[in-house]
Symmetry: C2
Subunit: 239 residues, 2 copies
Amino acid sequence: MNYGVILASGKGTRIKDNINIPKQFRKINDKPVIIYTIQRFLKENLFDSIYIVVSKEYLEYTNNILKEYLESTKNIKIVCGGKERIDSITNSINSIVADNGCNEDDIIVIHDAVRPFVTDKILKNSIDGARKYDAVVCAMPVADTLLYSTNNIIVEKIPDRSMFYKGQAPDSFKLKTFIELLDNLTEEQKQKLTGTSQVCTFNNYPMHIIDGDELNFKITTKSDFALAEAIVKGMDNND
Amino acid sequence: MNYGVILASGKGTRIKDNINIPKQFRKINDKPVIIYTIQRFLKENLFDSIYIVVSKEYLEYTNNILKEYLESTKNIKIVCGGKERIDSITNSINSIVADNGCNEDDIIVIHDAVRPFVTDKILKNSIDGARKYDAVVCAMPVADTLLYSTNNIIVEKIPDRSMFYKGQAPDSFKLKTFIELLDNLTEEQKQKLTGTSQVCTFNNYPMHIIDGDELNFKITTKSDFALAEAIVKGMDNND
């Protein structure tokens, strides 16, 4: 089975305006960001089930918008997120295993709700990659000059950027492998975890890179929303 | 004196459409990108002269659009670019020195034509920084997870991103210092030069970081143009 996990329990509302709602629920052209993301996951029928992880106070809200915007919510389940990112991931894994068990060839694709323009190609490559290599991360080559500074004041060196990638999402895994890697983490490592990829690197477990896409950017700033708006309008015009 | 240098000799036309013109000359809302950039430099009267570096085949073209879009071209000079970035920079320095000599407190602010939304604050801070520290680079903290891979296949580590910055532009210098640093470079170093900051790092010369801005992005891809379009429209609405 292929499971999609969409992490949407972030509480980031600090875009410089007064709209007091987490970014994944803000609307682009009258549709919440998270709905775009879910629709990308639904589009090619790549997933047997999709788990949406939201914070407790948004459980009902999410349930309502799913019903409002989606034709069917059949294979979609809403899971309550935890305090930290790792807790949210663990909760989604627990739900998956409770619902379906864990089989040798199950794949889990972990994505951010605030990357609503993930492409079909990325989702396909990520599933195929996880099947082949056990663990894959979607990433883009770094295009900017990288500057390195340990004191945050003076540039110490300009590393060769050809060895650096910007991590995007999704990160995908064989479910079984991922559960084992999670179990292996110490409490200290769990505290330090900021992204899914570290579940691998903390275990020295090889994670293969699959090609990301400029379109698959994370919506964080006000200009990201402006760009998203422009993209959505462009998509509508091409319909 | 404060000199602005705007590098516009790039030939990049490889945005995925059929408009066969370098990005700095493409129009956003009916005005070429480079004009936005020049207008930012003109706005606060921070510069005594502005040198625009363009490739030979665009000398006349540039001259024409400056006349068409700017109220006055009084303190603006067009310089012919060289083969590599370093040659273009050298040509601009030579022009500045030929026109005005080189005085102890002259400042040079080197910017990319394809960063049309550089803010007043950045330009001011960059000039002040160069006066105080001799060499400054404008940069942003890295917001993405950084992945490190020497073979471009498997992630080897996830470096602590808090020590990494994305270089933007401008890079600003005391003119005299910059000329000395340039003179010190070996031919091999000059060949390797991809950005202005390396003129410092190759010399182990300290370069201070000043804060960049999301708005000061480089227009490279089709989505960058979409974002630029959205920003310009937003600016017009706020007028």
